[in-house]
Symmetry: C2
Subunit: 378 residues, 2 copies
């Protein structure tokens, strides 16, 4: 999975947990939002995958930086930024909100946390939403304060996550519903904890609002987690592809719109809300989208790392390019290669036969599938 | 210099030259602007440093992404974004332009290329200036088109760079002055080539405006460079610290203003231009800045990699923190550790004795110096 070393500098920021992930043997990182994201530990991706599905893991996801927007015009600015209707959002709710530009292109796909009536966090993927929001507000003369608070999310993921979290934060945490958050005490501080996370195995994200508590929080959960067979982990590529979880910058970029990403439920075009890109998305919808994200199952030997999109060709004509695989890996459980891909309209039906031209030069035969992959196979 | 592997994915974009840098044995990367920056080859940093000072190197600096701003309001938008007066900029000129926010904080420190009266490239450091510029323009209703063109800079650096470039592009290239560019033919395309680069050894940057020519360009220069002892390279930490070249995200962040970075010549506060942050910077200047970037020379064993700022303490009182080292490395030529640092006003005089608390736990004695370090030592 890794190719060469990652050269460190202050610019690639360490997190409050980096000392700890180093202590438990991190083997590889990625860089997201100018910050280190642990991506490999002692276990192989396959071992990590099976562990995540059975036990509980602790993930340093501090790279999910918060963009805090507060002030009189905060709600107005955020609604302007997203195609999803946020007017009925309540304090305690988390909302997945596509952010789009004036052409309908994806700027980011953060989770929005409503903290107060005029105060929000956008928990972002890999692009400088802070600069986007500040630019918009400054240009339009909006009355908001926008900054990156000292918040460093730590994810606890896996089927044993709830038991572990109840042991640390009390039984009340079991009452927190999916994509809701509440506040819990940690060392006499009040911390936002949501039932959410970048896996389909269940779990929580602790939005630690004070980096000086990072070691304490890690150590507390690590100690409590020993009886649950806790392991250090990170978003698992096999699990996220099977679960149909997208990654901004991988599955979609600014060249894609949210309809291509299947986010129709979060694209309100009836005029009840106004946002950047409304007109562009109306036209795109009226014309009909030309491609959309699909899962793909393909045969052959385990595929290499997908570091640039692999061409997908029609199964019956290897000269017709019908799309691209954007993330791919071998699933030991499905015993097939699996991928996420952007596929042209005429070929996106489930069962469509394809060939995938991987970077190793091998051509693998496969089939288009609906998302999420695992449910579609059941 | 490297710690663990870098996990690859499409999100961390390859460049038109990545295949070639892999072929010549790249050992490590950094990530800048969501793209791979080669940072280590077969030579050690020290060997690379001496080679760069004597011969010529080819650097994949595609991460210097261009933000193209064109249209009726292009000049107005760019002037609004920078504290430097760009009204007298001419086509063919390159200008180092601090971009600041409403508090005077550094957003980026790109090089501006004026291509036409209403068309510019900002050749950026590591932050999404595209989102900042688009946000400002959209918010203010400016008539501009902003995008990232398919431009991938390749730097040719070192004392033999001019001879090599003349061999490839013709003798006229010798006429290009420092921080000027002209257009040269490559495979029947017209390419922008500037006399510039992220070293003090002289050289050029080719703004290759067509990624499909990447292999051709690399191979052409590589072949022509054999008689000049060409080597693959990258920005060299020893050379850039000695030369006093700053790195956005390392020496300064949004928490710093351009006056703290010693960019006084590029901060026009007399009212002849209006820009975001003018009022904030006037106040900062009137109050007097409280810290500024300085070089630092310090003794002891070669220092480790500076992946988070090292505290700098007063030489006569190790309890008084007077600043932070933001980049540091051992210089085999000066036979000392060298660093760039942000130092408090009361202690920033040349010759001030300090101690540096490196991440390896060792305390090293040193002295504050002016910039650039090498000239100040002559």
């Amino acid at each position: 999975m890794s190719s060469g070393g990652l050269n460190m500098s202050r610019r690639i920021r360490r997190t409050p947990y980096t000392d700890r992930v180093e202590a438990v043997g991190v083997r590889g990182f990625s860089v997201v939002n100018h910050m280190l994201l642990p991506k490999a530990f002692q276990k192989s991706v396959e071992e990590d995958y099976f562990h995540l599905r059975e036990h509980v893991q602790i993930w340093d996801v501090s790279v999910q930086r918060q963009v805090e927007i507060k002030g009189r015009d905060a709600t107005q600015l955020i609604q302007w930024m997203t195609s999803r209707d946020i007017s009925k959002a309540t304090i305690g709710q988390c909302l997945y909100v596509p952010l789009v530009d004036e052409k309908g292109g994806m700027i980011n796909d953060p989770v929005l946390l409503k903290l107060e009536e005029d105060r929000y966090w956008l928990s972002i993927a890999d692009s400088d939403v802070l600069l986007w929001a500040k630019g918009l507000a400054l240009g339009a003369g909006m009355e908001v304060d926008i900054d990156e608070p000292d918040v460093s999310p730590l994810a606890i993921q896996g089927p044993k996550a709830e038991d572990l979290m109840a042991k640390v934060f009390g039984e009340e945490i079991r009452q927190v519903k999916f994509f809701r958050y509440d506040r819990f005490n940690f060392k006499n501080t009040s911390q936002v904890i949501a039932r959410s996370g970048y896996s389909k195995q269940g779990g929580f994200e602790i939005y630690l609002d004070d980096s000086t508590l990072g070691h304490d929080l890690w150590d507390t959960i690590w100690a409590a987690g020993q009886s649950f067979n806790i392991s250090p982990g990170c978003p698992n590529l096999i699990e996220r592809i099977e679960g149909g979880l997208f990654s901004y910058g991988n599955e979609m970029t600014r060249q894609n719109n949210p309809l291509e990403c299947g986010m129709n439920d979060y694209v309100v075009l009836d005029g009840s809300i106004d946002f950047i890109g409304l007109n562009a998305l109306r036209k795109i919808k009226a014309d009909g989208i030309t491609k959309q994200i699909r899962a793909i199952l393909f045969d052959g030997s385990p595929c290499p790392t997908c570091s640039k999109p692999w061409p997908v060709m029609a199964g019956d004509n290897k000269n017709i390019k019908i799309g691209e695989v954007t993330s791919g890996i071998y699933s030991p459980r499905l015993e097939k290669n699996i991928g996420l891909s952007m596929i042209d309209r005429d070929y996106w039906s489930s069962g469509q036969k394809v060939t995938v031209q991987c970077a190793d030069g091998l051509v693998r035969e496969g089939v288009v599938s609906t998302l999420p992959l695992v449910e579609s196979l059941i």
